[in-house]
C-alpha cells in the first residue's frame, strides 16, 4: 500500500481561479417559466424563430425527466431556485474594447486570457464569456479577411440569422435530453464559428467561459460550421469562483463538418470542484456532439476534465459521410468527492467510417470516475471500424473507477475493438523513481502525465503544456 497520508498530501488541490469579480450585474428574478424565457429572448433582441425554438424546447423539457442512469449521486437540483440570466452592467452598445469595464478585462487578465490590443495572445483568437454574456472577441477583423466568422452566438443571431436558423439544433435536437432541452430554452451566450469553403483557419480559435455569480446558472451554446474542405482548431477553457453552493452549468455544443472538412475541438475544464468535504462546486451537465455530414469529414474531440463537482459529459460523433472520421481523446481527473461520468458516443451511419476512442480516467481521494461510451454500427456502416481504449488509474485506496462500454452492431462487415485496463500507481514504481532522487510528488505527477501521454499528444501544443501543468498542480500538495 502506498503511504496513505503522503498520497493525501499529494492530491490536495489548490484552486487558483476561485476569486470573485466584484461587479454590478443585471440579474433577472429566480425561476423558470415562459415569461422568463420571453424576457431572455427580449433582452437579447432575438428574432421570432429563436423565441419559438426556445419555447418549443421549454415545453418538451417540462415533459421530460431528469436522467438518473449515470453513476452519479447528488442533491436534487431545484430549477426554480436558479437565475437564468446574469450579465455585468455595461453600456448598451460597445464599439471597442476601450469601453469594456476594466474590472472585466482585469478578470480575464488574472485568468491568463488578456484581451486588450496590447496584451492579447498573438496566436489565438479569443471569445471571452462572463456569466451570461460574451465580453469580447479578439482578432475579428483579421479572421474576417479570410471569411472566417468568429463571434458570440448572440451577435451571430443578429448578423447571420440565416446560418443560425439553418443549423441550430440540427445536431443536438431540442428534445435530445433533459439538459439539452433546458439549454435550448434558456441559453444565454456562447461562441459561433463559421469557416467558409476551402479555408484553413489561420489561427486557433478559443472561448473562455467564466462563471462569476453563485446563484445563476451558465447555459452557453456553441455552434461551429466547417464548410467543404475547411479546417479549424478550437479550444475551450472554463473556471469559476469558489462558492459553497452548487452552480449549474448546462451547455450545448454543436459541430458540423461538410465534405473533407475537419474540426478539432479541445477542452480544458477546470470549473471549481468543491472543497475537500465536497461542499460547493459546479454541476456540469453538458451535451457536445459533432455531425460528420460530409464525405471524408473529420471531427476530433479532446478533453481534459479536472474540475466540477459533477461531470456528465459525452462528446459524440455522428458519422454520416462516407469515410468520415470521429475521434475522442479524454483525460478525466477526479479528486476528493468529485464525481465524473464521461465518455463518448460514436454512431457509425455511413460506410467506411472510422472512430478512435482513447480515455484515461484518474481517480484520487474519495472520488468516483466512470467511463461510459457507446459504439454503434448502423446497417449501412459497411467496412467501418472502431478502436477503443479505456484506461483507469487509481491513486490511494478510497477512489473508484468504472468502465461502461456499450457496443451495438447491426453491420456484420464492420470491426469494433475494445481494450480496457485499470492500474494503481504501485509502491514499487514510486520507490524506483524516488530511489533515483525524484521527490514523491514529482514521481506521482510524472506517472500521471505519463499515463495521459496518448491524450496529451493530441492536444494543441500550448494546451498540452497547460494540461500537464494543471494536472501537476492538482496533484501537488506543497503549492498554494
Amino acid at each position: 500500500m502506498v503511504n496513505e497520508n503522503l498520497v493525501k498530501d499529494v492530491v490536495k488541490e489548490p484552486y487558483k481561479y476561485g476569486f470573485v469579480t466584484d461587479i454590478e450585474t443585471e440579474k433577472i428574478e429566480k425561476g423558470l417559466n415562459e415569461d422568463i424565457i420571453k424576457l431572455i429572448s427580449q433582452k437579447k433582441e432575438e428574432p421570432r424563430f429563436l423565441l419559438d425554438f426556445r419555447l418549443k424546447a421549454f415545453k418538451k423539457w417540462q415533459k421530460m425527466k431528469e436522467p438518473d442512469w449515470a453513476a452519479l449521486g447528488y442533491k436534487k437540483i431545484d430549477y426554480q431556485d436558479i437565475i437564468y440570466y446574469s450579465a455585468p452592467k455595461q453600456k448598451e452598445k460597445i464599439s471597442s474594447l476601450d469601453e469594456v469595464d476594466p474590472k472585466l478585462l482585469e478578470t480575464f487578465d488574472k485568468l491568463g486570457i488578456p484581451l486588450t490590443e496590447q496584451k492579447k495572445l498573438t496566436n489565438v483568437a479569443v471569445d471571452a464569456v462572463f456569466d451570461s454574456v460574451s465580453i469580447a472577441t479578439t482578432f475579428r477583423e483579421e479572421l474576417a479577411e479570410h471569411g472566417v466568422i468568429f463571434c458570440s452566438i448572440s451577435e451571430a443571431v443578429k448578423n447571420h440569422a440565416d446560418l443560425i436558423e439553418k443549423y441550430l439544433g440540427t445536431v443536438v435536437p431540442t428534445s435530445d435530453n433533459y439538459f439539452a432541452a433546458l439549454n435550448s430554452a434558456v441559453f444565454s451566450d456562447g461562441s459561433f464559428v463559421y469557416i467558409p469553403k476551402g479555408v484553413t483557419c489561420p489561427m486557433d480559435l478559443s472561448s473562455y467561459f467564466r462563471i462569476n455569480s453563485g446563484d445563476s446558472g451558465q447555459f452557453e451554446r456553441t455552434l461551429i460550421i466547417a464548410e467543404e474542405s475547411s479546417s479549424v482548431s478550437y479550444l475551450e477553457g472554463c473556471t469559476a469562483p469558489m462558492f459553497d453552493t452548487n452552480t449549474l452549468h448546462a451547455a450545448v455544443v454543436e459541430l458540423i463538418a461538410l465534405d473533407d472538412a475537419s474540426i478539432k475541438y479541445s477542452t480544458v475544464q477546470n470549473w471549481y470542484a468543491g472543497d475537500e468535504e465536497g461542499v460547493g462546486g459546479i454541476f456540469n451537465f453538458v451535451t457536445k456532439r459533432g455531425k460528420c455530414l460530409g464525405k471524408r469529414s473529420k471531427i476530433s474531440w479532446s478533453q481534459v476534465e479536472t474540475g466540477s463537482a459533477i461531470t456528465w459529459k459525452y462528446p459524440s460523433c455522428l458519422l454520416l459521410g462516407e469515410e468520415s472520421v470521429g475521434e475522442f481523446y479524454s483525460v478525466a481527473l477526479t479528486n476528493n468527492l468529485q464525481q465524473a461520468d464521461t465518455g463518448t458516443k460514436m454512431i457509425h451511419i455511413g460506410p467506411k467510417t472510422k472512430s478512435t476512442i482513447v480515455s484515461k480516467g484518474i481517480s484520487a481521494g474519495n472520488s468516483k470516475n466512470s467511463y461510459r461510451g457507446l459504439v454503434k454500427m448502423g446497417t449501412k456502416a459497411t467496412g467501418s471500424r472502431n478502436y477503443s481504449q479505456c484506461d483507469s488509474m487509481l491513486i490511494g485506496d478510497q477512489a473508484s473507477a468504472n468502465t461502461f462500454p456499450y457496443i451495438k452492431s447491426q453491420q456484420p462487415n464492420s470491426e469494433i475493438e475494445h481494450e480496457a485496463s485499470t492500474c494503481r500507481i504501485s509502491e514499487d514504481q514510486l520507490f524506483y523513481l524516488q530511489s533515483r532522487g525524484i521527490e514523491f510528488e514529482e514521481a506521482v505527477s510524472m506517472m500521471v502525465s505519463g499515463f495521459c501521454r496518448d491524450v496529451f499528444n493530441q492536444l494543441p501544443m500550448e494546451f498540452a503544456a497547460e494540461a500537464d501543468k494543471l494536472l501537476a498542480l492538482k496533484l501537488e500538495g506543497s503549492v498554494g
Binding site: 503511504n3 509502491e427 524506483y432 524516488q434 533515483r436 514523491f440 505519463g450
Partner: protein, 261 residues
Amino acid sequence: MQSKMKESDPILEVENLSASTDNLPILKGVSLTVYPGEIHAIMGRNGCGKSTLSKIIAGHPSYTITNGEIKFLGENINSLEPEERSQSGIFLGFQYPIEIPGVSNLEFLRVSTNARRKFLNKEELDTFDFEELVKEKLEIVKMDQAFLSRSVNQGFSGGEKKRNEILQMALLEPKIAILDETDSGLDIDALRIVASGIKRISNAQTGIILITHYQRLLDEIEPNYVHVMSDGQIIKTGESDLALELEKKGYEWTDNFIKET
C-alpha cells in the same frame, strides 16, 4: 593494501541492523562496513535477506528498522527519504527494474541526474546539454540512443533493463552502488558489458556492493570481500577465494557455519 584503504573514513557503515516487514523479521543483526575503493560481494540463498538489505539501505518504505543503524559518510540515514539518499550518493541497481509506462526514459534520466547535480551544487542540465552527457554515458553500456525515447524499462529485454540501470549509475556518479543481482538474466556478452561498465564508473573514492548468486560476475569484477548471508545474518566473511569455494561446495557447505556459531 587493505590497511592503507582504511586510513580514510568509511562510506557506509551498517551496524547491527535488524529490520522487519509486516512484523516479520527479515534482517537479524547485520553489520557491514565499506571503505572507499572497496568492492564487497554478498552471496547467499534466495530469501536469505540480501535483497532486503539493499532495499533498506536505499530506504524502501515497506521495511521498518527495529534495531541498529545505517551510516552514510558518518551520518545516520535511518530516517532519510529514498530520494534524499539517492541525491546524496547512494545508488541501488534493481534486480527487477520496474516498467513505468508513459514516462520517457530520457526525461526520467534527466530529472534524476539533475536531482543529484542540484545536491552537489552543480548546474542543472537542460535537455540539450543533458543529451550530450547521456550520449557519452551510453557508450559505457553500449546502448543505442533509441533507448532514450522509450518509456522507462517498458518492453526492454532483461539485459537492456540491467544496462539501463548501469547507465543510471554512470549518470548519477554515486559514492556507493549496491547492485542487486545485476548479473542475473544476462548472457555472457551482456555480462561483460555490464561488468566493464561497473569497473569504468567505480574508482578509488567509490564503494561497490555486489549481490549475486554466482561466481561468474566475480570473475569479471574481483571483490575485496565476500560475505555469505543466511537467515538475515552475515554468517561468514572472507576474501575473493571464499566465493570460489562456495561455488565448489554449494550453500549446504555454509549451513555448517550456522551450526558452528
